[in-house]
């Protein structure tokens, strides 16, 4: 065992590539801080540039490599070591080619003695990519792996650690822990003239509050001859009843098949648009939604997770009439609903 580690470290130190067993498949290891070695690895894998590659490390190295909040640290300690790749903002201590375009880095701390010992001794992160070529299946034995390589590729390998057939474990599961990069709505972004507070003890009551608001506001708009779309910005924690509120609005307009649009970001029902900004993690994504095109008179737009609308609030304000709804848990059965008009 010690001999294997010594030999491997020797190659890594000299910028070489090693095929090495892991908790999942045979991996291709090189020193993650050595740019020449990383370039060689990318060339070997025939991997499109810009595609990120994760690294093996240990708990000692973790804080040097990525930025971790207290909350994240607890989660990480619970699930690692294990077959997971954790994505976090990089501190740029590894070769930049391994990071994603957004400057994040994938981290692996496996439950696998050989790798753990290697990292412990080497004290530097090493690449954790599978040794198969890009777009080819993962390989569990050295023989099948070497068979699909060209002569030139075989020459690029400096050391092969053959542990025979590895158990057919699935590749690691990737989990992205980076925080969203969107502007959060702040108090004062929109000024309201009136706030009403309601208490709801049931789904039906929440819906009827929503109905009341839409009816009086539609009237109000008509009376003031305001030719603007109506925009509901709805804030509140998970499970508080935001979708229920939107269903209430929809039902008063005769739309009965509203479901959560989280997965697709928004659903469209004639001139009624039901958004959920929950999945929006980057301000770039707003551009693809073409929201400006929907801001026409007579349209109604509802935004769940409206706090994430900071990026587009000026647009919404300039073209529409905003109603801001804040929903809060009073307890498991009751909700407080504040409507700002």
């Amino acid at each position: 065992m010690k001999d294997i580690i010594n030999k491997t470290i020797n190659v890594l130190e000299n910028g070489g590539l090693v095929i090495f067993p892991s908790d999942t498949v045979y991996g291709l290891l090189c020193d993650a801080t050595n740019e020449e070695a990383v370039k060689k690895l990318i060339q070997f894998k025939n991997r499109p540039p810009g595609k990120a590659i994760s690294v093996f490390c240990d708990f000692n190295l973790l804080n040097e490599l990525v930025k971790i909040t207290k909350g994240q640290e607890k989660i990480i300690k619970e699930i690692l070591p294990g077959p997971f790749t954790i994505i976090l903002p990089s501190k740029h201590k590894v070769c930049k080619l391994l990071e994603s375009e957004k400057g994040t880095l994938g981290i692996r701390i496996p439950k696998y003695q050989l790798i753990n010992q290697l990292i412990q001794r080497y004290k530097k992160p090493v690449t954790a990519t599978s040794a198969n070529l890009a777009n080819r299946p993962s390989r569990y034995s050295i023989k099948t792996l070497l068979n699909e390589l060209s002569g030139k590729q075989r020459q690029m390998i400096d050391l092969v650690i053959d542990f025979g057939q590895l158990p057919r474990n699935k590749p690691s599961t990737v989990v992205d822990l980076t925080q969203p990069n969107v502007k959060i709505l702040r108090q004062g972004d929109v000024v309201f003239s009136e706030t009403k507070t309601f208490l709801s003890k049931s789904v039906d009551k929440t819906k009827s509050i929503a109905r009341g608001v839409i009816l009086s506001e539609a009237k109000n708009l008509a009376k003031r001859k305001l030719n603007k779309p109506l925009i509901f910005i709805i804030e509140g924690e998970m499970g508080v009843g935001k979708t229920v509120f939107v269903k209430g609005i929809g039902e008063s307009l005769g739309i009965k098949n509203i479901i959560s649009p989280t997965f697709v970001i928004y659903y469209e029902y004639g001139n009624f648009y039901h958004f959920d900004l929950y999945q929006i993690e980057d301000k770039e994504e707003f551009k693809h939604l073409k929201i400006d095109k929907l801001l026409k008179p007579k349209n109604i737009l509802c935004f769940e997770w409206g706090e994430k609308a900071g990026e587009i609030i000026d647009l919404l304000k300039s073209k529409g009439k905003i109603i801001y709804v804040k929903m809060e848990y009073v307890n498991e059965k009751e909700r407080e609903i504040k409507i700002n008009i």
């Binding site: 989660i75 077959p83 822990l177 980076t178 229920v244 479901i259 697709v264 659903y267 469209e268």
Partner: protein
């Protein structure tokens, strides 16, 4: 019949070439709008919208078939496209491209419901015609994904009756959101599956099974979400055990799915299931369905290849093949418009 199928229902641009039930090629370009599926594709390309990549994906799908003389746009018999349900701006791109190709190459156009695709996904074959299963109608169909949770009686080819669906969140969405509450980031479903497995897929907390008492076949996961939220809120942070919680939440969702399915089997007296959608990639859920169906001496069919559980154009092309057989082509190509909330 060679069909070029396009699906842009959500964040994935997918184009496939199919021949009957056989898939000759299927190209999926992920990460468009939600370009955070780390490790997927080249981010600089992924940043652009569907529009900028659709041509490339069409070409790739044709190229991957290999035989150029056999497979070019001229030799394709019809173009198929997902008309809905899905994200409007995304659907638009696929439909526009499909119309353009149909006109340019003078091909017939077939419109497909994305949910039909999921129902047919267990019957989709690879280029070697595997799996070799035959249709034995009627089936009780289930679509369980990040965007849908529906019960459908799959009566015959292209004949469906929806008998239950979610009133709020989809099952996959509930799992993703639980993962988020646990601080597990995105995407949460596969993470929950893996952590639950490490906890032995046991139920430690017995979270509520929503809608089991109701007599209908609808689902609602918002109550479960609330109860999970409250549970986490009332526990001191340091005592939370992520694996046990993942496992318990997953069991609550899956148990609901299984019990409702049992109810549906009893009501419809159909003991043959076809199940499609992203959540059925979960091996624990497959096992639970196999166990259930053993009890009713029926059969259960899942998609044979993992890519068929997610959004893909291959299943759209296969549905289109059956539509073509019945002469169900789009009559007025210019009139075809997206249907973001199209139901079966």
């Amino acid at each position: 019949m060679l069909i070029l199928a396009i699906d842009t229902s959500c964040d994935e641009t997918s184009v496939a070439i199919t021949d009957g039930r056989k898939v000759l090629s299927n190209v999926i370009y992920s990460q468009v709008l939600l370009h955070k599926k780390w490790g997927g594709v080249v981010p600089s390309i992924a940043k652009r919208a569907h529009e900028e990549r659709i041509d490339f994906v069409v070409e790739e799908a044709l190229r991957k078939v290999g035989n150029k003389n056999f497979c070019s746009l001229q030799n394709i018999d019809a173009i198929a496209v997902t008309q809905g349900p899905g994200l409007a701006v995304a659907l638009e791109v696929g439909i526009k491209k499909a119309k353009e190709l149909a006109k340019k190459y003078n091909k017939k156009l077939i419109s497909v419901n994305h949910l039909e695709g999921h129902l047919y996904s267990p019957f989709v074959q690879n280029s070697q015609s595997n799996p070799k299963i035959d249709f034995k109608f009627p089936y009780l169909g289930l679509i369980i994904s990040g965007g849908h949770t529906e019960f459908v009686i799959f009566k015959n080819h292209l004949e469906y009756e929806v008998i239950g669906s979610t009133l709020d969140d989809a099952a996959g969405e509930a799992l993703d959101k639980a993962a988020k509450l646990l601080g597990l980031g995105y995407p949460g479903g596969p993470m929950i599956e893996r952590l639950a497995k490490e906890a032995g897929n046991k139920d430690f907390h017995n979270f509520p099974r929503p809608m089991l008492k109701s007599n209908d076949l609808n689902f609602s996961f918002s109550g479960l979400k609330t109860s999970f939220y409250y549970f986490l809120k009332n526990q001191p942070h340091f005592t939370l055990r992520v694996k046990e919680l993942s496992s318990s939440f997953q069991e609550a969702v899956f148990d609901t799915l299984i019990k409702k399915t049992e109810k549906a089997i009893k009501q419809t007296k159909i003991n043959r299931l076809v199940i499609g959608g992203g959540v059925i990639a979960n091996m624990r859920l497959r096992k639970l369905f196999r166990d259930l169906i053993k009890k009713y001496q029926g059969e259960v069919l899942f998609p044979s290849y993992k890519y068929l559980t997610g959004d893909n154009a291959a299943m759209i092309g296969v549905v289109a093949g059956f539509k073509a057989k019945k002469g169900l082509f789009v009559k007025d190509i210019d009139e075809l418009d997206r249907l973001p909330r199209w139901s079966l």
